[in-house]
């Protein structure tokens, strides 16, 4: 009953809205005091049905914690602040527990995420009753999985088969929001393309896909929008084609630098390194590495604002030059 309620939903309300999400860890200092270590700060993101949003950023920038926060599986010592909404409903832990695995599904990366002592079929069926065994058999067939896959233990699956079993969990749940975390590393190009096509298909069927990746090229070719992640927050949300057009179409200095760092665009490294979560700069997170930073940037963090059909977190981002 309740489920139907969400399903209908208002098309204008985003499927997932993340407003000012911050995640921090409780840690102990040398002294006996507790201290909070901020790993995600003031993150904003909206995801609509029917689109793929890629969250792209260097490894270690905390983007996977975003997935954990949405699913309600943050480690015990982490605390989240801010607001998560699913179809307009506030995602409180109780709702998260209810929705995760049914409405919101995670597609993890590797065979490590399957219980080594449980057969693939039982794992795909999941813990909810009644078990969707019939549907699952049909789905396995559709995914080109051999008939006896369901009797396999994870170690007996090839990488590609394991991936399809993992994807099948999201499809079986008929989830509306799919969060795929680094789905491609370790796969051959064909496998990666096939997997991404599967996600494209899901989005075209009216679901929403959040694709967490550090591979910008793949993100550009499959996603609708790209959220550039830096040091625990999203600094720019751009349409995928902006990345195709080049740095002028992009809004944030980091995105531009990222574009220039791509092999086909000159392979130009970005000076400096990402700040460690314990020593985040006071103002704009990118300011210490930004060539255009001003005293204002070091004082105050810019907030997210709309610009040219995207969003950006920079005081100095502006309209396209010569236009």
């Amino acid at each position: 009953m309740e489920k139907k309620e969400y399903r209908r939903g208002d098309p204008n309300v985003p499927l997932l809205a993340v407003n000012g999400l911050s995640v921090s860890f409780q840690m102990y200092d040398n002294t006996f005091e507790q201290r909070a270590l901020q790993v995600i700060s003031e993150l904003h993101l909206q995801v609509h049905a029917g689109e793929i949003v890629a969250i792209a950023g260097a490894s270690g920038s905390g983007k996977s914690l975003l997935a954990a926060a949405i699913l309600g599986i943050l480690p015990d010592n982490a605390t989240a602040a801010g607001e998560l909404r699913y179809k307009g409903q506030l995602l409180v832990p109780k709702l998260q527990k209810q929705l995760s695995g049914t409405e919101i599904a995670l597609v993890p990366q590797s065979v490590d995420f399957l219980d080594p002592l449980m057969r693939a079929g039982a794992q795909a069926d999941g813990h909810r009753k009644p078990r969707p065994t019939k549907e699952r058999r049909r789905l396995f067939q559709r995914l080109d999985l051999p008939k006896d896959t369901e009797k396999c233990y994870p170690y007996q699956l090839s990488g590609g088969m394991a991936r399809r079993v993992l994807v099948s969990t999201a499809l079986l749940a008929d989830a509306q929001l799919i969060i795929a975390d680094e789905p491609t590393p370790g796969m051959s190009l064909e496998q990666a393309l096939a997997a991404l096509k599967m996600f494209r298909q899901m989005a075209d069927d009216g679901r929403a896909v959040v694709l967490i990746t550090h591979d910008i090229d793949l993100a550009v070719s499959f996603a609708d929008r790209i959220a550039v992640f830096y040091a625990g927050t999203i600094v720019e949300i751009a349409n995928a084609q902006d990345f195709g057009e080049g740095p002028d179409a992009l809004r944030h200095p980091y995105s531009k630098a990222l574009w220039r760092a791509l092999p086909q665009n000159g392979f130009e490294p970005i000076a400096g390194s990402q700040p460690y979560a314990g020593r985040l700069p006071k103002g704009c997170l990118f300011a210490p590495r930004c060539s255009r930073s001003t005293p204002q940037c070091a004082q105050k963090a810019p907030s997210m604002r709309a610009l040219r059909g995207g969003e950006v977190r920079c005081f100095y981002a502006h309209g396209r030059p010569k236009e």
Binding site: S100, L106, D115, Y153, M161
Partner: protein, 342 residues
């Protein structure tokens, strides 16, 4: 695409047979070594079994003494005696106990039955309690449940078996009078007339003593394993699919910790037997353990050697069961995939 053949019962059967064979050979080599070592040790002892034997008979002449020595083969060199003993052993003759004046094998058979009842109770009880506590500690890591139980386990592992036995004896037998003070059967009643509940009545305290002291090991081990499991990627994914608490435990926790726990429990027969020796002595329970300490104190060499060999056999069977268990139950090992990388 690499795809393993799923069912190869013939290959699997062959592998288990091979495992069994390897383990049996190892066990036989160990038993042989133990027979050699224990015989050497006993031969080297300054305690003279003939003297000990004669003390029970009274004054004898030097001739009679020499006769007894010859009868026992004490006039031959140790190597010859060993071969003689081993030969008899292989024909099922463990010799005659000096203390009980009966065949050693018969004593072992009778005593082992008593000890087995005791050890089985303690093994099952400590295994179940220990495993359950370990799971609780692992699931509630660093919460108060874990803190309390863990400290209890540490404390219990510092308690000597015999002292706990003494305290229980004081409390339940002497003070409250709920249980008999000793002996595995009531005194003055024929063995055949002893009822099962009377046996159980005598078994309760020693079994309790033994189980209380063996569960901390399995509990701490299971805790560690459960923490490992709970930190694994597949638990993260299961949680992302909405599994929590009991469901999570039954579907993944139990599945991934029960085998190591069972293996450990089988591999702990040595500690179990050692504990039984002490518990039986405290409660004057007529098992192998009390026979062992009596044999050692009374210089009853045939019985001492017999029990040593038998206890080694007992421990080795447990170790073998532990080894085989992995081979039979773990799907990876069962299909002969080398473990590694995880």
């Amino acid at each position: 695409m690499i795809f393993h053949h799923l069912d190869q019962p013939a290959r699997r059967g062959g592998r288990i047979a091979l495992l069994l064979l390897k383990n049996s050979i190892r066990m036989l080599s160990l038993l042989f070594a133990v027979s050699l070592i224990s015989f050497a040790l006993v031969s080297a002892s300054p305690i003279d079994p003939v003297q000990q034997y004669l003390m029970g008979i009274g004054p004898v002449s030097a001739e009679q003494r020499a006769e007894i020595e010859a009868y026992w083969g004490m006039d031959k060199p140790p190597a010859a005696r060993y071969i003689h003993w081993l030969n008899a052993l292989l024909h099922g003759d463990f010799g005659i106990s000096l203390l009980y004046r009966r065949p050693v094998l018969a004593i072992i058979a009778e005593r082992f039955l008593n000890s087995f009842a005791l050890m089985l109770c303690a093994w099952l009880f400590s295994g179940m309690i220990g495993y359950a506590l370990g799971c609780i500690m692992g699931m509630y890591r660093e919460k108060w449940q874990d803190q309390v139980l863990r400290r209890l386990c540490y404390l219990l592992s510092s308690v000597p078996t015999f002292w706990l036995g003494l305290v229980l004896l004081l409390l339940f037998a002497v003070k409250l009078g709920w249980f008999p003070v000793g002996f595995s059967t009531p005194i003055g009643i024929l063995d055949s007339e002893v009822r099962i509940w009377q046996r159980l009545h005598h078994l309760a305290l020693p079994a309790l003593t033994l189980s209380l002291l063996s569960f901390s090991n399995i509990a701490l081990h299971t805790r560690q394993k459960m923490i490992e499991v709970m930190n694994s990627a597949y638990i993260l994914f299961a949680r992302a699919r909405g599994e929590r608490g009991w469901t999570l435990f039954v579907r993944h926790g139990l599945r991934n910790t029960i085998l190591p726990a069972l293996t450990l429990q089988f591999a702990s027969f040595a500690e179990l037997f050692g504990g039984a020796v002490l518990a039986e002595n405290v409660f004057s329970y007529a098992g192998l353990g009390s026979a062992l300490s009596a044999a050692g104190l009374g210089a009853d060499v045939p019985l001492l050697l017999g029990i040593t060999l038998f206890s080694t056999l007992f421990v080795c069977v447990g170790n073998m069961a532990a080894n085989l268990l992995y081979g039979v139950i773990d799907p990876k090992l069962r299909d002969g995939v080398k473990q590694g990388g995880d």
